[in-house]
Symmetry: D5
């Protein structure tokens, strides 16, 4: 069973496009980048990730995304099926 998560990224002012592009070019060994949108609102980029388990998702966020230049903060929302 895979794990899916939304990563809400805040960037330094003026760096939104560059961060969005960098995330689109991530070649991750941990997770698949399913979608990347630069957005208006309190966040600057929303990333949808999918991984085989929670550890790989965590590694992708901390290794692939948080280390990019211009990333200031990330907030992760994991999809859970409550039905």
């Amino acid at each position: 069973m895979t794990i899916r998560g939304y990563v809400l990224v805040e960037t330094e002012v003026g760096r939104t496009q560059a961060v969005g592009d960098a995330i689109r070019h991530i070649q991750s060994q941990f997770a698949s980048v399913r979608a990347v949108d630069t957005v208006t609102g309190p966040y600057d980029v929303i990333v949808q990730l999918e991984a085989s388990d929670l550890d790989n998702l965590g590694k992708s966020i901390t290794s692939d995304i948080q280390n990019l230049d211009g990333v200031q903060r990330t907030t992760t929302c994991l999809a859970v099926n409550l039905a």
Copy 2:
């Protein structure tokens, strides 16, 4: 050209599943509900909406989503293509 947005929904404590289900059953004249996930983190439900223009997207948020029982606050992030 269509407009896409992420609606980050906060629900009353204990109402996440009910709100998620209600959003999944929305029959909107204003927008298409592309995806609905109940999530962990500071938000409880993330909705992806698509509409023909910004006004219809706004109507869907205020009429379709904000009026549901248990919805406490919504934050909207609109996808913008900066390339």
Copy 3:
């Protein structure tokens, strides 16, 4: 592979002990309650949960914990192995 999480619970003023006791008596079909501590600080009760997958962990939080009398807010921190 199991999922482990810390649920940081804020209670209504004066309800900490009652909420702590109620969580200790949870008989959950979704998750195992590994530890429960009433605590000082910005949170009132810290719960350690373990479940077979993220969905069951989510169901335990929303069904078992958030519906208890006196629970005001929960914040979930999921253990991830980044090594």
Copy 4:
């Protein structure tokens, strides 16, 4: 159909007038600057933008405004017709 937005700009302390002037002189390929006011209150400059679509509006905010010296943070409010 055009898109209109209010951009609420916070500047570094003592930079309000300079930022206001710089925005008034923007020659944007993405959007029209309809009005610029330096203001009292929690924001320092309020800009009214109009663009042919949301993407151009987003480009104007990130390319034209956020890159100006002294701009610390921007908050965007897009006009939506809910009637």
Copy 5:
């Protein structure tokens, strides 16, 4: 010399359109309502007011706008010419 101000209005969830409409129908003895937009973002309605002096602007905000059903909070930004 007239005074102009932006009133950033937060409404109760689900009341944005009703509040926007009510403000559009204000017949004020204190100020002119120059523009009203329902908006996305942290605010729900942005009103542009103009009055003969600051006292009349203040009266319009407290008497005309804050007393409307569904208005939760207002933030005022007054235009100042720093040139």
Copy 6:
């Protein structure tokens, strides 16, 4: 008709007295400094300004006060007669 305002000043830690003194010595072409108090509480200095109109008051805040060494943030409260 004159405009009166309270400027609530936050200073860098340890700079309260120096900022208070600097404000007391302001020779402004825009406004009269009616009173200056160094204070306890969430603010460090409270200044009462009076000007012939809002623009001059704004110029005094941004030119006379915000440019002083040690000033970190200012919050302005304008007196309005609502009677």
Copy 7:
């Protein structure tokens, strides 16, 4: 030696004028009300109090002001001479 303080009052929405009037009519046994201004900004009324000592100032705030209908929160800034 007297004590002087600024009391920054937040009122319920729509109650600013009533609270301002009520404070102007205070007949206090504890302190003198030196000035009362209804204001724009994050506060609604600013009161300047003077008392023979800190205890009387405190009594005036808690007995005279905080008990008035429509007062939601008060923040006190006491004048201190640091020279």
Copy 8:
């Protein structure tokens, strides 16, 4: 070895004196009330407690103080000797 703590109490508006008096009259089986001060600032009452161990201190806060009428929130700071 005893445990000492400062309990920073926020009360409902207008209830500071009553809460301060109630705490002064506490006859606790868990802790000794060493000092009680009604105060200005972001808190309303500061209580100094001493107990034989952390559990008794915790019981005193939740049973003796948090259950009093008018208490809205408590923040506890425990004395630690770092030398």
Copy 9:
């Protein structure tokens, strides 16, 4: 009549003990340091000061405490007798 106050000190991370020690060694011409505790919780050091009047207390906070290396922010709560 003397003035007593609690100064709630936040220090830079890792500097709590050094700041606590420095405050214990203050030789103030303005106030007596009655007690100093390094603490857990949102603050790092709690200082109890006593001075002959409010001005001297204020001078002690701004000159004696705020100028110490590692002090990031102070919050003052003055004891008031409301009885």
Copy 10:
């Protein structure tokens, strides 16, 4: 009687794994590190400490944890038995 506490650690962006590893390798003279988890959510690492008394627990937090490279802020929640 021992003291147990949860230390909720926030790290600089991109430093979660390194801080988690450093805490796992702590050889403390003050406390035992019972468990360390890198986590998702508003905190990055959750540490469970146990010490012979509160002073030793405090020393471990300030000396062992807060001095590590990449630690930005810690929040401590002490276990209390309220039964």
